[in-house]
Amino acid sequence: MAPAPTGFSFAPPAAGSPFSFAPQNNTTSQPSSSRPPAFSFGSSSASGTTKTPAQPAHTSDDMDEDNDREMDDDDDVDVSYLQPAAYPRGGRGKWKASGRTTSAAVCPVGGEVATWVTKKPSSDPNQPPTLSKSDLTLPDRTLYFSSQHVLPDPLVSLYTESHLLFTSLQNIVAESLPQRRLTSGDNRITETWDRRGNLVDAQSLLGPPDAETIVHMRRLIDLYLDNLNDLRSNQEVEPVLKSRFNASYNIMNLAEILYFPTDGKGEGFVGEELLDWVNDVDPAPDNSQGNDIMATKNPWDHPSFWPYISRCILRGFHLPVASFLRSLANHPHPPVSKLATILAQHLAVFPRSSEERWRVDLEFLQAHKLWLAKFRAELTSFTGGKSRGSWFGEAKWASLEGDFRTVIELMEGKPNRVLEEAADWREALGAWGILVDVDMRRDHLPEIMSIILDKIPVDTTLLEDAVQSALCSADIVKALMGCYDLDVWLAAHLGDLLDKLELIPDDEERFETPLRDYFLLEYTEILQNNPKYSAFWRVVCDYLNFAGPEGRNRLRSHVVHVSIPVSKDVKGKNKETENTGDGMDVEAEQDQDEGMGIYYEIRAACEEFRLEEEFKMISQILAARLTKKGDYGVAAILCAEAADGYALSRIAEKILDSYISHGGEEFLRLVETLPPKLMSEAPTALAALQSEPTTGLTSDLLFQSAGSVFASRLTFLSQFRDYLLFMQEGARELAAARLITLLTSGIAPVGFWAVLLVESIALLEDSDILFTSLETVELLRVLQDVIANASFAPDEYLGQLVSYIQRLTNETDEKEQRKNGAQKGLGPEDALRKIEEVRLALGRNLARAVVVAFDSPF
């Protein structure tokens, strides 16, 4: 009956089979059968060579050539045409002679290609080329955009839905790993070396997943199948796509039956499942034909009567056959009706492994054996030793005997009869497990397939058939190659599944990436290179992350190219935006929210995939864009995320500048936008940095100094804000104290010293004495510093003061003044004059303070 077990088994002891779930650690004979001779993709010429033959040589030079060479040199490659065409058919020579050519540019994201008509370089490359006719045609004025892939909605839906299943699958298998590690026993060492002495990843030695995990995987495959099934039965899907979905469904379904058995081990009989699959893929026979036959007066006279019976037996529809045969009871020749009755009786009780009455497989096998013995016994008693051709006595019934023999031999499971009657290899395989080898298990399939294909070869023009038969023959690589030509989605997802079972042999010598990774990367390229690419950015991340080292590398470049929208308008109170309608602001803010939404999604992805460097770069770029836009608050948060101290201090400086040019109100508004946490922690951070000065030139020095710069800048911002608020509230004593701190703690930028001094005038002139004599002397010292330094660096020490005075003196006509520019209106000498005012005020205050100190020394 069944071929002797060939060592194919899902059970651990028998390793080395392409069907086996056990690790394939024997590198010798066995797996070589599953290794195809050469790989080729979509090309009829299966060549592994590195060079493609050159196209037929054309001797003519491009300048004078006008032979309108057809593009046939690239025969099998599809040509698409740009609309509107740049030149009419046959007009190439004329078009070229006019000095035109085309050029193209590739978009770094989304795979779009822009093409345009341009001029050929002129014979003197230093002179601009000219056209023989300078009139521009419509194509001359057009930019053409094209894309490698355009995804219809059903594909988008499949690609989106299957993404979650794919990631769940990776997680399920990954989670099963530690468990396997624990249960794998002592004989599996965590570190192992291969023959060449390379350390092999322990994970790859763990072998395929356990039965439980396979059962989980099967559930997810069912969901893949549900997706495909919905799409193949959707009326709105185009026929071409539909047939693609159908093919994918059938292949995925077959793979599930063969490699992801319900019990996770694949120990049971596979015949019934395979037959169901055959009946699903290629339903036969036709019910209505059966009805037609039965409707005729003598059904056995119908030309399709016997073929129909054979087909039904092959397809496992034994009860209908029994009723067909019973119709022969009315046959005029009694021996015929008698034999028909015998066959019908036995067919009606033909044991099937799918019946629930079998408690164990053995019971079914015994029942079948018994049935066969009984059937044969009855037949023998019927024929009574009659020789061939004389069963029914009269010669006119001799032809009927042949038909009966066919039925009998099919029922007996004679391999040759099954192969003769089967319409194709698939039907033969489906029947095999029901009729020939009723104990057919998964391990037997490669051998059975070779018997079947020997008689009924696969039509190699049918890609789907080639893939299916390869799957049944356990020729995984060939099957996946076929899948790739059929549908990249299928190749990627099926390849991933079969790889998890460690069924894909490695061929490192010839190829750089494992087959699974290659298919996943190819699939990802489709997701990346189509007009809807931006919707897939996160999906692409996941696939790349799971696609080996090459995928990880591509992920790094992928994630930084994700575009984050930043509205162009400056948010909040700003000169130009004030005039625009509210609608604009709302829109801008929505854009902003959307942009930040994507940013946080990217942050989550970067955390998940551990892309710290990339995230830093993304944050820096976005922060710079926001800073430029004037959105300092969000920009500061991003700088903090990116740990970019320099950018943070630049923001702080910009905010400080806003005080100089726009005054306290604008300054306070901008400071308010900064994250409170950043502000409140800055002084602590500064203190910590100051108390632990870096020793020596460590590599951290750069970062440390950057850190202290931004911490001191932020501390200054926060203290200067306090000063302004004290002034607003009229708490002039507190304001004065704060002013002193600002100048004496060393956190004020030098350019701001002069400004602070001028700020002090109002406080110095207060009726109350707000500065002690010591404080006044301290201010005098700062003033001396400013004057001394201004003599060689006037811009650095007085520049900001100049702008500041400019604002004060022109509060009424601020805009006009800004246009004229600070340098033109006022200069350092004006600033110095202002400083002298400060000196005067200081002098007066010193005098008052000294007197008061005398009056009340304590």
């Binding site: 698409s80 030149y87 050029s103 994201v109 093409t115 008509v117």
Partner: protein
Amino acid sequence: MLQTNLLAPGHADLVTHVVYDFYGERLATCSADQKIKIFRKTPEGTWDQETEWKAHDAPILHLSFAHPIHGSLLASSSHDRSVRIWEEPSGRERDGRWVERGVLTGAKGSVRSVEFGPPDPAYGLRVASISTDSYLRIYTSLDPSLNDWSLVHSIHVPSLPLPGNADEIPPPAESAASTSELASGGWGLSWCKERWWGSVLATFSGTSPTLKLVVLDPQPTSLIHLTPPGSGTAAPLTSVAWAPSCGRSYHLLATGSRDGTVRIWRVEPPGERLRLDYDSEEEVKRSWTAECTGEFGKGGARVGMVDWNATGTTLTTSDDEGIVRIYKPTYAKSWKLLGQMSAEEPPSEEGLNGH
């Protein structure tokens, strides 16, 4: 390939170059009409013009966007022998033209190609240009406000000696560029996008069929010269593109030639582990190896451009007959023509049926 969209950029003369920005969200076009235009992608996938301005005093030849880490910067080169650096204005000056941040002069011929270097903290922002005087010029701005540009390197490409050969080929006299060289020569450059090996770029000039890979620092030195096999008859190059390597251990470069040949070169830098084993820097530089892994289209029409996609897995080329071709590697890493687009009018229905 499928056509998805059209745009009428509205230049007064033919478009000379088009570039996408880093995110594919913007498009810059330049033209013989001396103008640059910037377009932005709408959510619907169409392009809206953002701004335009007159940028040069002669037809513009080439554009390049800088990496966004350097801000929103565009470089343009022109027949007026200059390279100009443009920065997007901040929000307040929105509708305006981009702000000119630098005019890089010194070229004694039209500047045929310009390209910003990849981001590299060691060298800051760099921009390379090549002009018909066969000098590769590298400029940099160390000033973050980009107002102070200086020439870092000026390299006469034909004089670059073979790796390991210390003697520089003496540069020819000023007028030595023969008329034939000018008539059929080509000039181009492309940066290596990977910064591990320093500031490296590929360049070619004049009628030479050789592509030279040059490391810029400390002194510009050839790493390897890529000369097609049987180079005695090889045609001058017209274009070069260095593929993003995406962390692969090797590099891919593509060149286009005047005789229609597209070549794909696989270049391997010395392995990281091996680096320690070399006696000197010199030896490290010499140990770059290259192999031509694909050659197509010999004898066809002049190749106008070659360009890679973001992962360095798809090569796009165009030629003088108005055909754009797409090449991809197979699993076995051999290269294969995948699709093509023609600017020619499609064959009539009967013609198709008769096929």
